[in-house]
C-alpha cells in the first residue's frame, strides 16, 4: 500500500494532462459549433480557420474554449464525459432493468468475455499440453519450440479475417469460434513458455530422490513437476488472459462483428460517435483489470494453501 500515494499522484497528473489536451484538440469543432449557434468567432468561417494554428484560435476566442468541454461529438472527450457515457450504458441501464439490451455495454462486455474465456481455456490447455510434450520429448522440444516463437512474430491480425472466412465456410455458426481461436493463438505462448520453465524447475536432486522412491513417471509428474510449476503457471496465466482479451478484440475489430466491445469500437467509428468508442475502450480496460486481478487473487489463495510464498 506504500505505492498508493505515488500511483494516485501519477493518475492525477495523467488526468490533468488529459483535461488540458481537450482544449486544443476540440477548439476547432467547438468554434464551428458556436459559430453555427450565431456567436462571433475570429476568424469567421471554418475554411479560413483551417490554416490558423490551434493556439492562436484559443487565444483569439478564449471565451469559446469552454465549449470544447461539452461537445456531443468531440475529437477528444473529457474523462468526465467518458465516465458519464460509461455509466449511462452500464449502471444506468441496469437500474432500469435493461442490462442486457443491445445498447448496453454489459451485454457487449459479456459477449467479449465469453470469447475471451473460451480462447483462454483453449490456449491454456494447448500451452500446457505443448509444454508437457516439450519437457518429456526431445523431438517435440527441437521441432516445436522454434515454431512456437515464430508463431508469435506473425501478426495474427493479418490472419484474423482468414480465420473468420475459413470457419464460416466450414459451417461454424456465429463469430464466437473464430474469435476464440484468435485469442487462443495469442494466449497459448506465454503459458507454454512459463510451463516449460515451471516443469523444468525441480532440481536434479529432487528428481533423483523420487527415483530412489521408485516413483513412476506419472507419479513424479503429479507429485513433483506439476506442483513445482504452479507459481510459473499463474504468472503466465495473468499475461495470457490479457493477451486473450486483446485477441478477442482484435478478432472483433476488422471483421464487421455486431456484438462485443470491439464491435462497439467499430460501430462507433462508422457512425462517428467518439463517446461510444471511448466508453467501449474503457470498458475493455476495466474488463482486463478485473480478469488480471481475479487471477492474481486466486494465485495468492492457491499458493498459500499449497504452502508456497506467492
Amino acid at each position: 500500500m506504500r505505492n498508493l500515494l505515488p500511483i494516485l499522484t501519477v493518475l492525477a497528473v495523467l488526468v490533468g494532462i488529459w483535461y488540458l489536451a481537450v482544449a486544443p484538440m476540440n477548439v476547432r469543432v467547438a468554434l464551428d459549433t458556436v459559430e453555427r449557434g450565431g456567436a462571433e468567432v475570429v476568424p469567421a468561417g471554418s475554411a479560413t480557420r483551417r490554416d490558423v494554428s490551434v493556439w492562436r484560435l484559443m487565444a483569439q476566442n478564449a471565451e469559446h474554449v469552454p465549449a470544447g468541454y461539452a461537445l456531443d461529438r468531440p475529437r477528444l472527450p473529457t474523462p468526465a464525459q467518458v465516465g458519464q457515457e460509461l455509466w449511462k450504458t452500464t449502471g444506468a441501464m441496469a437500474l432500469k432493468g435493461r442490462a442486457w439490451s443491445k445498447r448496453s455495454l454489459l451485454y457487449h462486455g459479456w459477449i467479449t468475455l465469453q470469447s475471451t474465456l473460451w480462447g483462454f481455456a483453449l490456449g491454456t490447455s494447448l500451452g500446457i499440453a505443448g509444454a508437457i510434450a516439450i519437457v518429456y520429448s526431445r523431438v517435440a522440444d527441437m521441432s516445436l519450440m522454434p515454431w512456437a516463437i515464430i508463431s508469435q512474430t506473425i501478426p495474427i491480425v493479418a490472419l484474423a479475417p482468414m480465420i473468420i472466412v475459413v470457419s464460416s465456410q466450414l459451417g461454424v455458426d456465429g463469430r464466437g469460434v473464430p474469435k476464440a481461436i484468435i485469442s487462443a493463438y495469442l494466449c497459448y505462448f506465454p503459458v507454454l513458455v512459463g510451463m516449460v520453465k515451471g516443469l523444468r524447475a525441480p532440481a536434479l536432486s529432487q528428481l533423483d530422490l523420487l527415483k530412489t522412491y521408485d516413483a513412476t513417471g506419472l507419479q513424479s509428474f503429479l507429485k513433483l513437476r506439476l506442483p513445482a510449476s504452479v507459481p510459473y503457471l499463474f504468472t503466465s496465466l495473468k499475461v495470457g488472459i490479457a493477451a486473450a482479451l486483446v485477441g478477442t478484440i482484435v478478432g472483433e475489430l476488422p471483421t464487421g462483428a455486431i456484438s462485443g466491445l470491439g464491435a462497439r469500437i467499430l460501430i462507433g467509428d462508422q457512425f462517428g460517435t467518439p463517446l461510444a468508442i471511448w466508453s467501449a475502450l474503457f470498458a475493455a480496460a476495466i474488463l482486463a483489470g478485473l480478469l488480471v486481478t481475479l487471477l492474481d487473487l486466486s494465485q495468492k489463495l492457491i499458493l498459500n494453501r499449497m504452502g508456497m510464498q506467492p
Partner: protein
Amino acid sequence: MSALILALIFWLSAWAFNVWLSNSRWRTTRAARIAVPALFGITLLVLWEGIVRGLGVSAVILPAPSIVAQTFAASTDILWIDFVQTFLKGALRGFVIGVAAALICALLIDRSAFLTRGLLPIGNFFAALPIVGVAPIMVNWFGFDWQSKAAVVVIMVFFPILVNTVQGLRATDAMQRDLMHTYAASYTQTLLKLRLPAALPFLFNGLKIATTLALIGAIVAEYFGSPTRGMGFRISTGVGSLSIDLVWAEIAVAALVGTMFYGVMAWIERRVTFWHPSQRG
C-alpha cells in the same frame, strides 16, 4: 486422394526421421538444431498441400501453398508497395518514435523514486490493455496515411518499453552502485557505464515484444482506413473480393517481416549483451 496419401506418408517418414535425428549423436550439432524444426515446418506445408488437393478444397476457402507461392512470385510489385507502406512507413517509424519516447520518459522517471513507484504499476496495467482499440481514434485524428498508423504503433510499443527500461534501470544492486560512488562517478557516468548496460537485457525484452506489437498496430489501423495500398488494406479488400491467394501471399509477407524484425532485434541483442548469462549459454 493420392495427394493426401502421399502427404500422410511424407508426414510419417519426416516424423520418424525427426525422432531418429533428435535421439542420434548429432542432435547437439547446429545442423540438426536447424534441420529438425525446418523439417517440421515443411511437413506442415506438405500436409496443407495434400489436404487441399486430396480433398479438393475450393481455392476460395483455402488455397494450396503452391498456388500462394505462385501468386507471391507474380505480384511482388504489389507486395513491395504494401511492405513499404505498412512496414517502412507505418510500423518502423512508429516503432522508432515510440521507443525513443519511452526511453526518454524512462530516464526522466527514473530520477524520482516516487514517480517510479507510481508509474510502474500503471505502466504494467497499460501494457496489458487492448490498446489496438485506439486505432479508429488515431485514424480520425491523423488521417488515412502512415501518420495514423505510426501513432497507433507509438502508443502500443510505448508502455512495454517504458516498463522494461524502468525495471532494467533498477536492476543494478547496491554494491555495484556503491562501487561507482567510491570512484566518484557522476550521475551520467554511472548511467552510461553501469546502469544502462545493466538495463539492456530488460530493454531488449521490451523491444522484442514491441516488434510484434508494431506490426499488429500498423495492420489493424489500416483496417480503419488507409490509402489504396498497405498490407491491412490489401487483406481486408482481398477477403471481400475473394482474391484469397493474394491475401495469403500478404500473410506470408507479414509473417516473414514479423520474423525478420524479431530476428534482427534478437541478433542485435546477442551482439550487444554478449556478456549476459542468458547469452553465454
